[in-house]
Symmetry: C2
Subunit: 333 residues, 2 copies
């Protein structure tokens, strides 16, 4: 990975970001901004595809997400932030790309299939939602991104994008668009408070980066542990016990975590005690993030302006990319 | 119909325009430009949806179509011409609208169904092609068009556009987009040389506005007449006889046409004779169009510049429309 690599990531602004985002993606971005050319996109149009009934939620969360980015240390001097709907070339590339993808291919995309089920669209899936992998192909290629840090569940979406890239490059005998590689993160997914595989706002099992210390404590107290660990003196299981999963991820004191695990497995360590400890660990971790977030939140316009300024830069890059693609398809005037 | 009405029409630049276009649409546009605010769009992106293998053909025919428009008397001082791919707001509106249309609704659209069969897409229909009615909704609404002169076969496409317009207006409690009405033309469809219901370049049964006099004569000689009219002295049928269909449309001398019909039905009038007469009528009709076309063709850049200049105007109007739609969906910044 070098400064020549162009990395794109983004989030749908449907709520503030949580620990799952941090572990799965945000910390990786803080690393990557020193290694590659990094773009971070606030995917408001993408969020619109399944929030047509409440787009104001999307609009409001653009700021929340931007504050989260700044709070965790994604640095505007190193990373270019932009807002998807402010880049008209994405929509135009999307239209062009839709002509290289069959409807059946989209229906067979495993990621899309799963999401259509999860969101219970049934037979009423909109054309906007079904085609979102093509929109993502436009997001990535508009800045000629070649690296995308994603979980394995998103690989089919990248494969869809690469099919389009290859088709255009081969059909028109050009090398306009780079192929895209996935970058896997070390801990791709953090389980939710309830032990479910994925922390998610919509599942109501998330700790947000903006939660205050009290809220964090309360949420940790609801955490899924070992359902058979009834009395303090009983031996407890640490496998699938979310409290220990989180300690493994967030406690820098590995020795202490090992001691707690041993104690818990032997018996004599109560859930409440270890939960209180985890809450402390999490609050220690979140404190500097919260402080920075409050600082940035004092001037919301300044935070948004960072995204607006970046969007102007991406529009220029996008204009160049679109020009090259239009030239390839003989429709540049 | 008043100056407040906004009418949009357009053509896919896949070949020069023919007599079918003239009868079905072009002559109506020459009328409408004095009555309404008229936009005429060269639909290059639309043509791309089923010409990805040969986009150069699309690019080349932009000029041919523009010359045809000018030659028939669509007047740049009265009509605003524009090129679809030069209006980025169309792509953005298209993306937004796709979120108000289900994939199944598009599959059930009778016009789309027929075209998928005709073009033999089968299971390989692209997302770009399936969604073209949504793209057309964007074409029309980008200039807030409320009148579209089309044949009855295109009504389902307008209905699709109106569904989107109504959904946006009602969901967000706005009156941003006007509903669209079809304007029917007097002679909506001219049969082909071979007697097929529709004259079309791809069916090879067309007389182009740019055909020279010799070509017109040759083509008329191949025309479908009455297959049972074998000897000159036999009585002939005029129903379904393309030669008489064309005479009805293009010969201003109605009395002469009636005499020919009577003679033909009685017997004693040969196909060759009546065809030679039709060729004369058509060439008299086409002569001034051809002369004007040759004149405009001397300066192709000037002809294209008319479309480029109009596109700049439509971009400004489009920016305003898009701003209003984005405000309605809470995504204006």
């Amino acid at each position: 990975m070098t400064k020549k690599d162009i990395v794109l990531t983004g989030d749908r602004p449907t709520g503030p970001l949580h620990l799952g985002h941090f572990v799965g993606s945000l910390q990786k971005r803080v690393e990557l901004q020193d290694i590659c050319k990094q773009y971070v996109m606030i995917a408001d149009y993408q969020a619109f595809t399944d929030n047509v009934d409440n787009p104001q939620k999307v609009r409001d969360n653009v700021l929340q997400v931007m504050l989260d980015y700044l709070a965790v240390g994604i640095d505007p001097n190193k990373t270019t932030f932009f807002i998807q709907s402010l880049i008209p070339q994405i929509a135009e590339l999307y239209f062009i790309y839709l002509n290289f993808v069959t409807v059946n291919r989209l229906r067979r995309n495993p990621t899309v299939k799963t999401e259509i089920q999860q969101k219970e669209f049934g037979e009423n899936v909109t054309a906007g939602f079904l085609t979102y992998p093509v929109h993502q192909a436009a997001d990535i290629t508009v800045v000629k991104g070649n690296l995308v840090p994603v979980g394995a569940d998103q690989y089919p979406v990248l494969e869809q994008a690469n099919e389009i890239v290859r088709k255009i490059n081969s059909l028109y005998k050009v090398q306009v668009l780079p192929e895209i590689k996935a970058v896997e993160s070390k801990v791709p997914r953090l389980s939710g408070l309830d032990g479910k595989a994925k922390m998610s706002k919509s599942l109501g099992n998330a700790i947000f980066l903006s939660d205050d210390a009290d809220t964090v404590l309360k949420k940790v107290m609801t955490m899924y542990t070992d359902p058979d660990h009834v009395r303090v003196e009983d031996p407890g299981k640490i496998e699938g016990n979310v409290v220990f999963t989180y300690l493994d991820v967030f406690d820098p004191d590995k020795q202490k975590v090992q001691e707690l695990k041993d104690h818990y497995q032997k018996g004599g360590l109560g859930d409440v005690k270890v939960k209180r400890y985890l809450a402390e660990v999490l609050n220690t971790f979140l404190d500097p993030i919260r402080t920075k977030r409050l600082e940035f939140a004092k001037d919301p316009q300044a935070a948004l302006d960072i995204a607006f300024k970046g969007s102007l830069q991406v529009r220029e890059i996008g204009a160049q990319t679109l020009k090259e693609v239009k030239t390839a398809i003989s429709l540049e005037y």
